[in-house]
Symmetry: C2
Subunit: 316 residues, 2 copies
């Protein structure tokens, strides 16, 4: 089976589609951090996106791409993270029901976010198979349309709109670095950036404790993520069948980072930029701290995935 | 002795003077927080100002207002806080030496900030009289020009530029609330706002544990601050002879707030806006949480003073 890869034109349509609902997020700079890593950095701040994460772009694009018939019975997904909140808000904006399958041990704050946007939660055991089988039951009962968190063309196209905005403002970037979880964000990043400038370099950033994308790229096929161990809780998924080929074609290199550098990068950003980013965002700056030989004196765009983190707990 | 009060035209000159150096800071909104307090809120984010605080506006204006002769021997002040860092950076930008008298027990992070901008520190005992007498000695030795943190027309004019920006973007605000320490920020706020719209209401926000401005306004004369007890460490000063009359003339009301509400407001902003503000910023939102009867359904501008807070310690 051959999957259709979204094109730059799909991303441009996505940008138009989500424009009434999504934020055009700010791009920040910080001379102190740029000097520290010896490159000129531009931070694309998806922590200021609706629901506090880039996930809203994809969810919004996917929900508003549906025909009225497809949308009539609502949408459904399984997620314990930002995609659940993003889909709930997108569905609310379209006026359709949203069904979320969530592991019973999901953090209280995530449950509250989903409920706050009107998402209807079905709890299940905290295993992938329980999530999948429960979602199947929910969909059989409701006839809702499934929207996968990353293995979906409209999701990928939506996530890519962050990079359209970034290159619209800073067109002469040499490199863009994005975090890799399931690969939706970096796939959209690739299509946007390579579509606009085929000479741009795309790198991924991944925790050493969840380095399945690094291993997958090395092996030339999807290596599933097993027992991930990292504070970057948005980057625990395996790559998908629709994201892996895009990453394999366009991503030059995946930089893996230690937990220590994720924490160091996170603190640097909180302290110097006065903004709150989640650990999954911090990996992109950690990549430059840990691999200072890469990207010296380059103009580098870094995509901060979001800002949803537990404020009762500091990692440092 | 009669002091000259800065006028709107002085503020406009200040804005031009600092434009090459200072940030035009963003104005953020948050529908969840606005709904919570029943008013439409606009947050003027001086935590994104240079050195992370509004203090840079005043310091920059004061330093660049000096004649070459006045500036030749440098500038000096006593401060353990944001004014010290702000003056150090402003002096560095003008290329003149900056002498800072600081209590020996000042936080390490403040000392580092001043040194990072090239400020020359003289340590003294942590009392006001030691600070004043040490500053006198430093000035006698260096012939530097003293720049007081708030009791100074050019400082007041500089701080007022934040409100010029705020009203330039949101001209139809009903109310502006600013925190009160020595009164420099709120004095500049009054001159800007009343100069542009005489019908606008200005309120101050102050911790109950440092309510000297509240008492001063009630008594009609400066009541010195004694033994302040609050986490809002930027709001510990008494009012000055140049700030009190401006406040007495233009400020309708001072809303005092509990430490509990300062912490609650600070957490709300970190969580909902994904930005880092210091406790002294949070008092303005705390004022609306604690006095919900005030400003219902109004358009309210809130000035966040800065974002310099100890990231090793959470108040909640």
């Amino acid at each position: 089976m051959r999957y259709l890869t979204p094109t730059l034109s799909d991303l441009e349509k996505a940008a138009e589609r989500i424009a009434p609902f999504a934020e055009i997020t700010p791009i920040l700079t910080c001379s102190a951090i740029s000097e520290m890593v010896g490159a000129e950095l531009f931070f694309k701040c998806e922590n200021f996106q609706k629901v506090g994460a880039f996930k809203f772009r994809g969810a919004c694009n996917a929900v508003f791409s549906l025909t009225d018939d497809e949308a009539a019975k609502g949408v459904a997904t399984h997620s314990s993270g930002n995609h659940a909140a993003a889909l709930s808000l997108a569905g609310k904006l379209r006026g359709i029901p949203v069904y979320i399958v969530m592991p019973s041990n999901a953090p209280e704050i995530k449950k509250r976010a989903v409920k706050g946007y009107g998402g209807r939660i079905t709890y299940c055991e905290p295993t992938l198979s329980a999530r999948e089988s429960t979602l199947k039951i929910v969909i059989e009962k409701t006839h809702a349309f499934e929207i996968h968190p990353f293995n979906d063309e409209q999701i990928i196209a939506g996530q890519g709109t962050a990079t359209l905005e970034l290159l619209n403002t800073i067109p002469d970037l040499d490199v863009i670095i994005a975090p890799i979880g399931g690969g939706g964000l970096i796939s959209g990043t690739c299509i946007a950036a390579k579509g606009i400038n085929p000479n741009i370099t795309i790198m991924g950033a991944e925790p050493k404790g969840a380095d399945d994308a690094y291993l997958s790229l090395a092996k030339g096929e999807i290596v599933p993520q097993t027992n991930p161990n990292t504070i970057a809780d948005g980057l625990l998924s395996s790559l998908g069948k629709k994201t892996f080929p895009i990453i394999a074609e366009h991503v030059s290199k995946i930089l893996t980072v230690s937990e220590k550098n994720i924490i160091r990068a996170m603190r640097l950003v909180w302290e110097r930029l006065n903004i709150i980013i989640e650990p999954s965002s911090a990996v992109v700056l950690a990549a430059l701290l840990e691999h200072p030989e890469e990207n010296k004196e380059k103009k580098v765009g870094l995509i901060f995935s979001g800002g949803n983190t537990d404020l009762d707990h500091l990692y440092w």
